[in-house]
Amino acid sequence: MSVLAGHHGSGNQAAGLSVADAARNRRFGPLYSRNVRAVVARGLMATKSSNWMVMVSGFFEPVLYLISMGVGLGAIVGAVQGPGGQEISYAAYIAPALLAVSAMNGAVYDSTWNVFFKMNFAKLYQGMLYTSLGPIDVAMGEIFLALLRGLMYATGFTAVMGVMGLITTPWAILMIPASVLIAFGFASFGMGITSFMKTFQQMDWINFVMLPMFLFSATFYPLSVYPQWIQWLIQAMPLWHGVELLRQISVGVFTPATAVHIGYYLVMIVLGVALTTGRLRRLFLK
C-alpha cells in the first residue's frame, strides 16, 4: 500500500505507551480502568443542577406512608407483636419495612429509569465508553450513585423515626448500613435488567413487579396471614428479606435468619454486578 504525500510528523513515541497505561492493563483488561470516581463525580455534578426535586420527593414518600399508616391506622390497630415477641407500636412495626422500601425505591429509580434514559436517549454511556473508561467503571459508578442516594434516604428516614420516638435501641443505627446493602442488591440487579429494556412500555413492567412486592412483603402485616405457598413465594422475593432484616435490627433481635437475609443480598449483589457489566459489554463493546 503506497503512501502518497504524507504529512506524517514522525511521532517517535507513537508506538510506545506509557508505563502507567500498561500497569492499568490487568485482570479486567479492556473492561476496567480503575476510574469509578470519575463516573461518580459526573453524577454528583449532574444532580447538583437538575435532579433535586426528584430526590427530595423520593425521600418524603415513605415518610408520608409512615405518618398516615403508622400514626393514623396505628391508632386503630394498637400494639402488635415485634420480631422478638415483644409488644411494639404499629408505627414501630412498619417503619423499618418502609425504610427497606425506600432503599429499594431509591436504588431502583436510579438504576432503572435514570439508567434507561442515559442509555437510550442521552447516549451518555456511549460517550463514556469512548474514553478510557471501561464498562465496569461505568456500572460501578452508577451503582455507587444509587447507593449514595439510598444512604441519604436511609439516614433521613432513620432520623425521622428517632424524632417520632420509634427507636428504642442503639442497634437501630445499623439500619443505615443495612439499607445500603439492600439498595446495592436492587441497584446492581436493576441496572442489569434495564439493559434489556428497549421501550417505555417495557419499563412499566418494573413498576408491575415493584408495587405488589411493596404491598405484600410483610410490609404492613406479618407473613403468617398468607397460606403456606404464598409465603414461600414472598420469601423468594428480595424485598421480604430486606423488611425482615431491618425489622430485626430495629429492635436489636438477631437470629440465624438474619444471616440468611444478609446472605440473600450478598448473592444478589454478586449476580447483579456480573449481569450488569456483562450486559454493558455486550451493548457497547459489540
Binding site: 510528523g9 449532574a46 473508561l133
Partner: protein, 329 residues
C-alpha cells in the same frame, strides 16, 4: 495553543524514499472484517495511516464507515482480520488505546445535564486526568472552539454548530494523537462548516492524525491528504484527492442539457466525443481532457444544447463513478 509539541516532529514534513525509511504508522488494518449475523458491514479492508496524516473514509450510507471507526475505537469487536492502533490491538487494550484517541461521533452525545465547561472537565476526568491540568485546558479549548462566552451555558441552549464545536473541543481534552471524526459537519450551515474546517486544519498543522468519514466531497477535498472510497464494505479506490480524480475521471467535464425529452436520445449522436459519456435524466455529461474543445465538437455535429457548462472534474465525479448513482438506503 496545545501542548502537542511531543507529537510534532519538525523535520521531514514530506515523505521521501531517501529519508529515514518507513513512516511510522499509527493505524494498520489488515483484512478488517465485521459481520452482523448475515450482513457483512466491513468486508476485508486493509489500510495504513501514517502519523500526522488526514485520512478520509468516503462512501455512501451503509458502506461500513462508521463500523470501521467503531472498531478503531475498540467499541466494536471485529469478526476477523487484524487491527493495530499505535501498536496495540484496541480489542485487548481498549482503555489504553482510547486514552490516545479523540472521538467526534456522528451524533453529538454531549452531557446535557452539565454546563458547557463542565462537559469538558468531566470528560477529561473519564481519562483520569487531574483537575490542575483540566481547568486551564478546558479554557483553552473553549477559546479554540469559540465558546468562551458560553462556558456557563447549558448545552441544550447551544446551536447545532456550537454543539459540534463543543464536541470537537471535548474530543481534544486528552490531547489525542488520533482524532476520529464521523461525519463532522453533517447538518451544519456553510458558515459553521468553514469554521470547523479551519479548526481541523489547525489540528492537522499541530501533527494530530485525522481520520474522517464524510459524504461531502468538498470536505474530503479540503481536508484529506489521502482517502479510501468504500462501498458495501470494500475499498473501491485509494489515493490523494488529486490522484483519484486523475485515475478515475478526466480533467474536465462538459455538462449539456438538451431538455429531458432529448437527453436520452442524443447520447448516440455524441458518441466519440471525449473519453466517456454519461446520460442522466436531466443532462448529459461528457468527460474530456479539454471541455471547450469537446463543446466545439458538439457544435460541429450540428447539436445545440439548451445550456452547456464546462467545469473541472471533482471528487464527486469519482465518487459517483465508483459507487454508482442509484439511491442507497
Amino acid at each position: 495553543m496545545f501542548r502537542v509539541s511531543e507529537l510534532v516532529s519538525k523535520e521531514s514534513p514530506v515523505s521521501s524514499p531517501a529519508g529515514t525509511g518507513e513512516p511510522q504508522y499509527v493505524i494498520t488494518a489488515e483484512n478488517l472484517t465485521k459481520s452482523y449475523g448475515e450482513v457483512t458491514a466491513v468486508d476485508g479492508i486493509s489500510f495504513r495511516v501514517p502519523a500526522g496524516e488526514a485520512f478520509g473514509l468516503l462512501g455512501p450510507n451503509g458502506a461500513g464507515k462508521s463500523t470501521t471507526m467503531k472498531m478503531i475505537g475498540g467499541v466494536s469487536q471485529r469478526t476477523s482480520g487484524s487491527l493495530s492502533i499505535m501498536g496495540l490491538d484496541p480489542e485487548q487494550h481498549g482503555p489504553e488505546v482510547r486514552a490516545h484517541l479523540g472521538v467526534v461521533p456522528q451524533q453529538d452525545n454531549l452531557d446535557e445535564e452539565l454546563k458547557v465547561r463542565d462537559n469538558l472537565l468531566v470528560y477529561g476526568r473519564y481519562f483520569g486526568l487531574p483537575m490542575s491540568y483540566l481547568k486551564p485546558k478546558a479554557d483553552e479549548l473553549l477559546e479554540f472552539a469559540q465558546l468562551t462566552d458560553k462556558a456557563k451555558s447549558k448545552v441544550d441552549a447551544l446551536s447545532g454548530g456550537m454543539k459540534r464545536r463543543l464536541t470537537i473541543a471535548r474530543s481534544l481534552i486528552n490531547e489525542p494523537r488520533i482524532l476520529l471524526l464521523d461525519e463532522p459537519t453533517t447538518g451544519l450551515d456553510p458558515q459553521a462548516r468553514h469554521i470547523l474546517w479551519d479548526r481541523l486544519f489547525r489540528l492537522k498543522e499541530q501533527g494530530v492524525t485525522l481520520i474522517l468519514t464524510t459524504h461531502y466531497m468538498d470536505e474530503a477535498e479540503q481536508l484529506c491528504d489521502r482517502l479510501i472510497v468504500v462501498d458495501k464494505g470494500k475499498i473501491m479506490a485509494e489515493g490523494s484527492p488529486a490522484s483519484l480524480i486523475r485515475d478515475y475521471s478526466t480533467r474536465e467535464v462538459l455538462e449539456l442539457r438538451f431538455g429531458s425529452e432529448r437527453n436520452a436520445t442524443v447520447g448516440t449522436e455524441l458518441e466519440g466525443i471525449g473519453e466517456r459519456i454519461e446520460t442522466l435524466p436531466d443532462r448529459v455529461l461528457i468527460y474530456a481532457h479539454d471541455g471547450e474543445a469537446a463543446l466545439e465538437q458538439v457544435s460541429a455535429r450540428g447539436l445545440h444544447p439548451l445550456t452547456s457548462l464546462v467545469r473541472r472534474s471533482s471528487l464527486e465525479d469519482v465518487f459517483l463513478r465508483l459507487t454508482g448513482r442509484s439511491l442507497v438506503d
